[in-house]
């Protein structure tokens, strides 16, 4: 049995990775996860794709130590969650939102801002340091939220449908932006999405989950050169294969 405290102690044998073995999780009568097994090697980007309600968010909660499995084990290096939607705090400026993790760890407001500011220009946020979230576009809000996740400084990032709320065009831009950013700032990433193209464009490996209770149906290695585009033939082919495995599409 893994305790919450254990989850935040990096395991010797895991390095900066994630190991989920036979994780079970139920909420009352609803079984969210039923013996899920998943490994994320240090530096690897793994996308988890599955139908709505298949326990994807529950998986991230377990990896981030926000919940304990009812059975099986979850071991992970320290992980930071980027929750669904952006969860930006509307009363804080963009730079204060980005530096939130540092404030929580005891940095002063000025120190947290100083740490966040250098990222604003490369993140396409220059000039918006003092803007409140309500004044930012959807894509900018996601970039601030991702910066906040990155600045937490943990080896593992858990992204819960990061671009789900964006319009289709912005989503494509943000996927390319995230791929570029992760190329410059490599991290171990567990990305939950219901967009198979997004998974194929971004991930080293795509893990397909069954409907609830979630189990791994198939894992597809994405051995494609980067940068990838949604329109690449190989990306389209892999996405189609993933959809067939999920029982969708021809």
């Amino acid at each position: 049995m893994t305790t919450v405290a254990d989850l935040h102690r990096p395991q010797q044998d895991q390095g900066a990775g994630v190991a989920v073995d036979g994780a079970m999780k139920a909420f009352g009568d609803v079984r969210a996860l039923d013996g899920l097994c998943l490994r994320v090697a240090p530096g690897e980007i793994v996308a988890v794709v599955g139908p709505s309600g298949c326990g994807k968010s529950t998986l991230l909660d377990l990896v981030c130590g926000l919940a304990e499995p009812d059975g099986g084990s979850v071991r992970a290096a320290p992980a930071t969650l980027m929750p669904q939607r952006d969860a930006l705090l509307p009363w804080l400026t963009a730079e204060d939102n980005a530096g939130l993790a540092l404030r929580v760890r005891g940095a002063s407001r000025a120190e947290a801002r100083a740490a966040a500011r250098p990222y604003f220009a490369p993140f396409g946020l220059a000039g918006f340091e003092r803007a409140r979230p309500a004044a930012l576009s959807g894509g900018m809000r996601q970039r601030v939220a991702f910066l906040r996740t990155l600045l937490a400084g943990t080896p593992v990032l858990c992204l819960d449908e990061p671009f789900g709320a964006l319009d289709a065009l912005t989503r494509v831009q943000m996927q390319e932006w995230l791929a570029g950013t992760l190329a410059r700032e490599p991290r171990t990433v567990l990305l939950v999405t219901h967009d198979v193209e997004e998974a194929v464009v971004l991930a080293d490996r795509v893990v397909l989950l069954s409907p609830r209770p979630g189990r791994v149906v198939e894992a597809i290695d994405v051995d494609l050169p980067r940068p990838r585009r949604r329109s690449d033939h190989a990306v389209v082919d892999l996405a189609a294969r993933a959809l067939r495995v999920l029982g969708l599409g021809a």
Binding site: H8, C64, L66, L81, P83, A87, W91, V104, R132, A134
Partner: protein, 242 residues
């Protein structure tokens, strides 16, 4: 300003009704007599307005401190919630005259018992609104703070307190509006000055114009206190969105 137009029309009808002899001016004074009482009794009215204002403002401040302490305690500590919440609700059923006798016995006829009564009436909307505001935080934002390993106090300071601020101001505005009637009730039950005292004495002396003038000032005082908190709210809450 449709509200102003309506008031002018109503005042005109009122004036006509009283002047036309349909109602005895001892029962209902004409608006012009109220206005002249406001001018001629300015020294009495001014002193009593000051007394009532001090009672209402001090009572509101005490209620804000007490309400914040109780709301935060109930939010952070469930035994406090189970113990205090029924008492907070029950406190609003206490008839002021029942309290007045022991309060006067303990605290005399001065300012203190009035402040206590105002605070007792005003802390309720403040406590209930702030407590609700602290609880109703966006679950995704709460999850985020947990994921960052924020302590209980950090979650309160960085997330819950700012998120609850709009509701806290709602409570303060409601409290400001009822604080004036709280002060009047307190003065009814034993006092030597204040607008409530003046209303009581003027009614007994059939000084109906002065009674209405005092009432007009109570009305204005409630509006002013409400407006002060509305202004503070606009200064404090500069962000949009949940």
């Amino acid at each position: 300003m449709p509200a102003l137009a309506l008031v002018v029309v109503l005042l005109g009808v009122w004036e006509a009704v009283v002047r036309g002899g349909l109602i005895d001016p001892l029962i209902l004074p004409a608006p012009t007599s109220v206005a002249s009482a406001l001018v001629s009794d300015v020294h009495v009215l001014g002193a009593d307005l000051w007394t009532t204002t001090v009672e209402a403002v001090l009572g509101l401040l005490a209620a804000a401190v007490l309400g914040a302490v109780i709301a935060v305690a109930m939010h952070l500590w469930s035994p406090a919630r189970r113990t205090l919440y029924p008492l907070v609700i029950g406190s609003q059923a206490l008839p002021i005259p029942v309290l007045a006798a022991p309060l006067i016995l303990l605290l005399g006829f001065g300012l203190t018992p009035k402040v206590v009564v105002v605070a007792l009436i005003c802390f309720f909307p403040i406590t209930v609104n702030l407590y609700d505001g602290l609880r109703r935080v966006d679950p995704e934002q709460r999850k985020l703070l947990r994921s960052l390993h924020a302590s209980r106090w950090q979650t309160l300071a960085l997330l819950e307190a700012p998120a609850a601020l709009p509701r806290a101001f709602t409570g303060l505005r409601v409290a400001a509006a009822v604080s004036v009637i709280g002060a009047v009730f307190a003065e009814y039950n034993g006092s030597e000055n204040g607008l409530g005292h003046l209303v009581l004495v003027s009614l007994a002396q059939l000084e109906s114009a002065r009674t209405f003038a005092a009432t007009l000032l109570l009305f204005a005082l409630a509006l002013a206190l409400y407006g002060a908190f509305a202004l503070a709210e606009r200064r404090a809450i500069t962000w949009k969105g949940p």
